[in-house]
């Protein structure tokens, strides 16, 4: 990639650059890093490289503060997973932690300094109803009470409407697959469950196998239409790659598994953009062999253009003029690949007209009560 990369990516690629930054550069780095959700991760990397003492005090405070927050989130996630395991223990179903919670539970470097807000779990589809009942009994309630949303999630999605614990306010997404039911080329979740690994420290709770973890991370990033944490998620993939690539046979397993799971396109995107933006060490022959999984031209060139814009931090200093258009196009794409047009059009129409009207009504009600109202 030839265009100038944002400072935060330069520093991520070579953490030793932190010691040579001028104060105006620090000013920019902290702002870009905050927007990208990467400050805690930069702290963890600087700590590993033993650079913390060499950083100027004021900017370093921001790294420290983000790290404190991320550590707290990771600790809370570990504890909360224990609560979920307890709530579900009588069902004897495997509970698979996904994404942030999984990284934290399995002690991956990708967990260090990574802040996240929702817990994600995967459970076998046949057990879904029982799982939901047990969680309700233990204080988790559905947050999307809107009838349309409930129907939409339950009929078409690979998860049920998100739940929130009534007292602890933790958000929980319960998946029964990693891609929506409406996607034709989606992996059979049973294959993921078969390879899952039980955590020693938390019996009954599993994480996906290493290569499945990698593929799920890529699937999540390149299938979803939201990119406000795009760069953070791309660095997840980079760190997973660096951690796993040392194991014998990792690359062969990864490629073979992506074919079994129908996730070859996601593998291609994951390798291409981590390599291009973050200089992730991917062997030349793997890049070559996975090039076959690329979309056909001219789509390939178009996706390059879109992803390489959308994956930059959403900060005025590095968001190109075409950034909003790229994110919009990817948002539409995420829906188009998720649903056939006869389902998609009514859904987008509902989201475009009915939902904003409802939100407007709710907000007007809250505005009457006064005070500082957080923006959605």
């Amino acid at each position: 990639m030839n265009r100038d990369l944002p400072l935060v990516i330069h520093c991520y690629r070579d953490i030793r650059r932190l010691t040579g930054l001028t104060l105006p550069e620090w000013d920019l780095l902290i702002r870009q890093g905050r927007r990208a959700g990467l400050l805690g991760r930069l702290h963890a990397m600087a700590e590993r490289a033993e650079l913390l003492d060499a950083l100027p005090e004021k900017p370093a405070c921001h790294l420290t503060a983000s790290r404190v927050e991320a550590d707290r989130v990771a600790g809370a996630a570990r504890w909360e997973m224990g609560q979920i395991a307890f709530a579900l223990q009588r069902l004897w179903v495997p509970v698979i932690a996904l994404k942030g919670a999984a990284y934290a539970l399995s002690g991956r470097f990708a967990a260090e300094g990574r802040a996240f807000s929702d817990l994600d779990i995967l459970v076998p589809r046949p057990a879904l109803e029982d799982v939901e009942q047990q969680l309700i009994a233990h204080g988790w309630l559905s947050t999307h009470l809107d009838e349309y949303d409930q129907r939409y999630y339950r009929r078409w999605m690979h998860e049920i409407p998100p739940m929130r614990h009534i007292r602890r306010k933790t958000n929980l997404d319960i998946h029964h697959g990693i891609l929506p039911e409406t996607v034709s080329r989606r992996p059979d979740p049973r294959l993921l469950l078969d390879e899952a690994i039980e955590l020693e420290a938390l019996p009954g709770v599993y994480t996906l196998s290493p290569v499945d973890t990698w593929l799920h991370s890529a699937t999540h990033l390149f299938q979803e239409g939201e990119f406000h944490n795009g760069l953070r998620d791309l660095t997840d993939l980079d760190l997973l790659t660096r951690e796993m690539a040392g194991k014998d046979g990792f690359w062969d397993q990864l490629v073979a598994r992506s074919q079994v799971l129908n996730l070859t396109r996601q593998l291609y995107y994951g390798l291409r953009y981590t390599h291009r933006l973050l200089a992730t060490p991917v062997p030349e022959e793997v890049l070559e062999s996975t090039a076959a999984f690329a979309p056909p031209q001219p789509l390939k060139g178009l996706m390059d253009g879109l992803f390489q814009r959308a994956l930059l931090p959403l900060h005025s200093s590095c968001d190109p003029a075409t950034g909003p258009a790229a994110r919009w196009a990817l948002y539409i794409r995420s829906h188009a690949i998720r649903m056939p047009p006869h389902l998609l059009l009514p859904h987008l129409a509902h989201k475009a007209f009915v939902t904003p009207y409802r939100q407007w009504r709710e907000e007007r009600e809250r505005a009457r009560q006064g005070g500082m109202v957080p923006r959605r």
């Binding site: 004021k58 500082m372 957080p374």
Partner: protein, 310 residues
């Protein structure tokens, strides 16, 4: 250079264009605003603050601006922006200045986890800092403003910042926010002090700010050792009552007033323990401002005498 060296007009112009840098306690804040209310209040209340325009690093880039769109023709609004992003919905335009103050509080509570932060007023006299945690209505700001008007140094009317390495409290002096009845009480009690405009019909009722003393701003870089932790409660028609609290009870009560105790884990526990160990802790009920001041002054005298005794 201090903000008072700018005329009202020069300040408004700087705020409109490149913004101004303000040193506020340990933070350097870059502020832009095209809204006249903001310039007016800053000019009056922030006169003694050092400008941080030569700073090359700013902790928070803040703007208070009118939202775009045509809505402002009907009811003008102000938006609080951190580095270009609004964390909150807009408020009515005439609340632009208090919005800045609330927003800056939010920034510190949200992003400054290098400190253990308690929701408390902090004042100091002769090397004895008193922390006054308070729920809304407990009168912490009123007590704080009146102590400051009587010559105590203001460290903060809103948050106690407890750093990692020492127990000394880091000052973050800001205009003292007074609400409803306490505005007139303070204006009557300390007419010599400078007060900002009153802003009516906010979420907290009417709000007005008292300008912090120049001396407190000048000494904003000097941390102070905590010696008293007092939980004030204003209750009319009661006796003044000062009740010593055990360390355990004080610890648990202080945790309730912390913004980020749970974030800091074991480190938060150690810091809180160090703080409580350094302090005498009390529950303090007072029926009137005079009684409150009187009680606190006597407590301060006792603590000072104990401190200086051989």
């Amino acid at each position: 250079m201090k903000l008072s060296e700018l005329t009202r007009q020069a300040l408004a112009q700087a705020l409109r264009r490149e913004g101004i840098g303000l040193s506020i306690g340990p933070f350097s804040v870059r502020l832009r605003s095209r809204i006249g209310y903001v310039a007016d209040s800053l000019h009056r209340l922030y006169a003694d603050y050092p400008l941080a325009d030569d700073h090359q690093f700013h902790d928070f880039h803040i703007a208070v601006e009118r939202p775009r769109g045509i809505r402002h023709v009907i009811s003008p609004q102000a938006l609080f922006l951190v580095d270009g992003e609004p964390p909150f919905k807009p408020l009515p335009l005439n609340q632009a200045y208090p919005f800045f103050e609330w927003g800056l509080n939010w920034c510190v509570a949200q992003y400054a986890h290098q400190f253990l932060i308690l929701h408390a007023a902090v004042v100091e006299r002769d090397g004895i800092a008193a922390i006054l945690p308070g729920s809304p209505g407990a009168g912490k700001s009123t007590l704080c403003a009146s102590l400051v008007a009587r010559g105590w140094r203001l460290l903060s009317d809103e948050m106690a910042l407890i750093p990692r390495v020492t127990e000394r409290l880091v000052p973050i002096p800001r205009p003292v926010a007074l609400k409803n009845d306490s505005i007139d009480i303070l204006k009557h009690f300390a007419p010599e002090q400078v007060f900002g405009d009153s802003f009516h019909d906010t979420a907290k009722g009417t709000v007005a700010h008292m300008k912090p003393p120049a001396e407190s701003i000048r000494r904003a870089g000097e941390p102070a050792p905590p010696r008293l932790l007092i939980f004030p409660r204003f209750a009319k028609d009661t006796e003044m009552k000062l009740e010593p609290l055990s360390r355990g009870r004080s610890f648990l009560k202080a945790v309730e007033y912390s913004f980020n105790y749970d974030f800091l884990g074991a480190d938060g526990f150690r810091r809180m323990d160090r703080l409580i160990s350094a302090c005498d802790c009390y529950d303090f009920n007072y029926p009137s401002l005079e009684a409150g001041l009187d009680g606190l002054t006597r407590l301060w005298e006792r603590t000072l005498a104990a401190e200086t005794a051989p």
